[in-house]
């Protein structure tokens, strides 16, 4: 019985990072029927998957392999009707960057993670903008993207706090 519970616990631990990212992708697509200034809510939601991806790569790299970065990006491309491979490539770049900063993150504070997320958010958005513009043969207006980037960076602490609480309850450590 205890072995069975242990297996369940291990499965839960292994799947939580990926499940939370997939949950955020589906949440981003929810038809909210909101209008006016509330449209910014959608912009904030669209940054949630990347926030979760960054959080888990830094905090639970053994439970979030590079393959998942590709799959989450691919899933977003498919569901958002974007050019296939665009977000997958951008997320792989973010994955490389964050894992390459492993020693930097060692014993660093949340402010450093926030700063790294800001760099990743700008980089991922820039890659997506460049690929989408090249595909459409037209330079896409950067203003909505800049607003999305700013909102994403602003709301990162909220999502990171929620994920941190989740991590503590499941993995039992900070």
């Amino acid at each position: 019985m205890s072995r069975f519970l242990h297996t369940i616990e291990e499965f839960w631990k292994a799947s939580l990072p990926v499940a939370s990212c997939i949950f955020f992708v589906l949440m981003m697509l929810m038809p909210l029927s909101i209008h006016g200034p509330l449209v910014t809510v959608k912009m904030i939601l669209s940054a949630f998957p990347l926030m979760a991806l960054c959080f888990w790569i830094v905090n639970q790299p053994e439970h979030f392999g590079v393959g998942w970065s590709f799959i989450i990006g691919f899933m977003q491309d498919v569901l958002l009707g974007q050019p296939l491979g665009m977000t997958a490539l951008a997320y792989l770049g973010a994955d490389f960057f964050l894992r390459g900063q492993g020693h930097f993150f060692l014993q660093q504070s949340f402010q450093h993670l926030w700063m790294m997320f800001a760099v990743v958010m700008v980089g991922v958005s820039a890659v997506q903008w460049l690929i989408a513009s090249l595909m459409m043969h037209n330079w896409i207006d950067v203003m909505p993207m800049l607003v999305r980037v700013a909102l994403g960076i602003l709301f990162f602490p909220l999502v990171a706090f929620l994920l941190h609480q989740m991590q503590r309850s499941v993995f039992g450590r900070a």
Binding site: S33, N59, A174
Partner: protein, 299 residues
């Protein structure tokens, strides 16, 4: 918040970067595939969307419930004003009905005199919106109707008030509708009463534009814009919006449809019975042989 731990990556270079480089190669390959085989990419995309449609449907449930509560609250709060407005609307609609009946009768008699034969067949299919995509680079929705329901690429999608977009991908269980505010959206339209033709195009976050209208002609704000039916792909006279004003050489459109309140869409099945050469006709015949059958199906 937390202290950040060391990421436990394998130490050898090949072990560290090998699988990641393969994935990068795969991502680049997919991007190239978009350029040279768009129809294959579209097929891959809609197949995966079909697979994920049940999850999206489940994820949309809480928001549907929330919308129900919100609209119920709104209607309770404004019941008196709403009642007055509806009474006024009923009076106006009675006048319109009388006028429509009069014109229909006149139309019938004129067609009889001219021996006019109407070849077009149009019916509707209603589908629920399960996912809303409002990203930086595209604006589309995913609906719960696919090829098994008779949906084919290029069908026009209508909201309650007017045209909202066009089907760009039709899977077996679900379809993607490109909304009129998307940068890639194009629709032939005409200005009612003037016979001026234009192309409606999306502007992302801004209002849609009407392209290729002559600059020397004065276009009055408030002029009704409808589909032109040019080329036989789409039915004519579907309501799109009204002219808002000029923006340089282009004309800005005020659309009838409210994209932020889209819960259901009607997909227009259109067929020109006489036009066998029309590729849409052939597709329609294969996918939905009986397009004249009563529709109104909500999958």
């Amino acid at each position: 918040m937390s202290r950040i731990r060391h990421n436990g990556m394998p130490s050898s270079i090949a072990g560290q970067y090998g699988p990641a480089l393969i994935l990068v190669g795969l991502a680049v390959f997919l991007i190239v595939l978009n350029l040279f085989f768009p129809s294959l990419v579209s097929r891959i995309r809609i197949t995966f969307t079909d697979l994920l449609a049940p999850f999206m449907h489940a994820a949309a449930k809480p928001s549907e419930a929330l919308q129900g509560v919100s609209s119920a609250w709104e209607s309770v709060a404004s019941v008196r004003e709403e009642n007055k407005r509806l009474q006024q609307q009923i009076d106006e609609l009675h006048e319109w009905r009388d006028l429509a009946q009069q014109q229909a009768s006149e139309n019938r008699s004129l067609k009889g005199l001219m021996k006019y034969k109407d070849d077009s067949v149009m019916s509707f299919l209603t589908a629920r919106v399960i996912a809303e995509v409002g990203g930086n680079f595209n604006n589309s929705v995913i609906v719960t109707a696919g090829s098994r329901d008779g949906v084919v690429k290029d069908m026009i999608a209508m909201g309650e008030e007017g045209v909202v977009g066009r089907v760009i991908e039709a899977g077996e269980w679900s379809s993607r509708v490109l909304l009129f505010n998307d940068l890639n959206f194009r629709l032939p339209v005409m200005l009612e009463g003037t016979q001026l033709r234009a192309i409606l195009t999306g502007e992302g976050s801004g209002s849609p534009l009407l392209l290729y209208l002559p600059t020397e002609v004065e276009i009055k704000p408030g002029t009704r814009v409808v589909t032109s039916g040019h080329g036989g792909l789409f039915p004519a006279h579907l309501p799109v919006g009204t002219v808002q004003g000029r923006k340089g050489q282009d004309v800005v459109l005020a659309p009838y449809a409210k994209l932020d309140r889209l819960q259901m869409v009607r997909l227009v099945q259109y067929n020109l019975a006489g036009g066998a050469q029309n590729p849409l006709n052939q597709e329609l015949k294969q996918a939905a042989p009986d397009v004249t059958a009563p529709p109104a199906k909500v999958p």
